[in-house]
């Protein structure tokens, strides 16, 4: 993946302010451009970089991009079913609303596609008190959600996803031939709130191989375009772990807000299996300790 970044920088020696940041990811045909601002704090505990970036807002509310709020509130059953649908393969199955028994039948359908997904909602006085959804997916992956219906969200609870072979899982989910993926294993845990037009994961922990990120993920689908907001912090941000941007007939079909903080940035892949990352604070690294095949390095900020 090709990337370019530019910014106006002003440093007083203790802190550098970064204004007019422009970050372009991908080649010119499939390029996503982020703009924003940030800073680098050269504190005693080591430098920390922060940036708040977003894609340009939609310029027009064309019919093709128009996305309004859902025509009617999503029922708890539909919410659970959507979660099972997501866990089970994403190919929507038309089922009648308001029939909890359909969840089991739905799960059975999913099991025949090579993945097992189950939901076990308990209803009391018309409300879902407990919804447990679990799935075993290709790529030695598992997903589970356990939560309750709340007054402010149809469902809220704990989400856990562990994809040990993300390339295989992604290919299976998209129904395409398996391709290389920069991330081998992905684990995600967090407190999920899922409601009409808005899905949030608070207290999120995202582990992509050796890269660890913490923060919050928010997906809103009520605006002109779907908007994905990420607020993440990492000891070390590995640009090589960024997946290819999704192909789209409409460049910029998504709005992205990205707020990141990191002590170090790695921007080249390692060719060997050993972790040769230089610590973010730039302690001495002897070349002899590194494999001659190692190409990755960490830019001390």
């Amino acid at each position: 993946m090709i990337w370019r970044a530019a910014a106006k920088v002003k440093s007083d020696g203790a802190r550098a302010a970064l204004d007019d940041i422009q970050l372009a990811l991908g080649n010119t045909e499939r390029q996503t451009i982020f703009t924003g601002s940030g800073d680098v704090d050269f504190g005693r505990a080591g430098p920390v970089a922060r940036a708040v970036l977003s894609t340009p807002p939609a310029r027009s509310r064309s019919a093709a991009h128009q996305r309004g709020p859902p025509s009617r509130p999503e029922t708890p059953e539909a919410t659970v079913r959507n979660l099972v649908d997501f866990a089970g393969g994403g190919q929507g199955q038309a089922l009648a609303d308001g029939r909890p028994g359909d969840l089991r039948r739905f799960a059975d359908v999913r099991r025949r596609r090579g993945a097992g997904a189950e939901a076990a909602p308990e209803r009391q006085r018309g409300r879902i008190l407990l919804a447990h959804v679990s799935a075993e997916l290709p790529g030695r992956s598992t997903a589970s959600f356990e939560g309750v219906e709340r007054s402010d969200a149809p469902l809220a609870g704990r989400l856990e996803l562990d994809a040990r072979d993300l390339a295989r899982l992604t290919a299976w989910y998209q129904g395409v031939a398996q391709r290389q993926h920069p991330i081998k294993r992905l684990r995600l845990t967090g407190d999920l709130r899922h409601g009409p037009g808005l899905t949030e994961i608070a207290d999120a922990s995202l582990v992509a191989d050796e890269m660890r990120l913490n923060g919050a993920i928010r997906l809103a689908t009520t605006g002109v375009r779907p908007k994905l907001s990420l607020t993440l912090a990492a000891e070390q941000l590995d640009i090589a772990k960024l997946p290819d941007l999704p192909e789209s007939d409409q460049p910029g079909a998504w709005d992205l807000d990205l707020s990141v903080a990191a002590k170090g940035v790695r921007y080249a892949p390692r060719r060997s299996g050993r972790d040769h990352a230089a610590p973010a604070q730039g302690r001495r690294v002897h070349a002899a300790r590194r494999s001659h095949r190692a190409r990755g390095w960490t830019a001390p900020i």
Binding site: V9, D12, A16, R44, A167, P182, A278, H286
Partner: protein, 106 residues
């Protein structure tokens, strides 16, 4: 090795090789350096203007051919109470490929 004012180590440069030319102690100065940083060979080319009012115009280009990455700075720098301050435009680019050893079978 470059140190922070509080003595903390910021970055270690090794196997430094290069040349620097200056027409006076106040500049202009130009030069090129090659060094190891975190195990990769880097090259740095830079040129400055003449120091005026404690400020120095600086253009610098840092390249890492192995990682296909380059960073350039165009602005001014000055020393204030022992701290290097700066003001200018910073740009960086690179090309990140997926590691080759990744398997592709289902």
């Amino acid at each position: 090795m470059l140190l922070r004012p509080d003595g903390g180590e910021v970055v270690a440069l090794e196997r430094i090789d290069g040349q620097v030319e200056a027409t006076s102690l106040l500049g202009p100065v130009r030069g090129s350096l090659a060094f190891d940083l975190a195990g990769d060979r880097r090259t740095l080319r830079f040129s400055t203007g003449k120091a005026e009012g404690g400020s120095l115009r600086l253009r610098a280009l840092l390249e890492n051919e192995v990682a296909a990455a380059r960073t350039d700075f165009d602005g001014s720098v000055r020393l204030v109470d022992g701290l290097l301050t700066g003001d200018g435009a910073l740009a960086a680019s690179g090309n990140v490929a997926i590691p080759l050893e990744r398997g592709t079978g289902m």
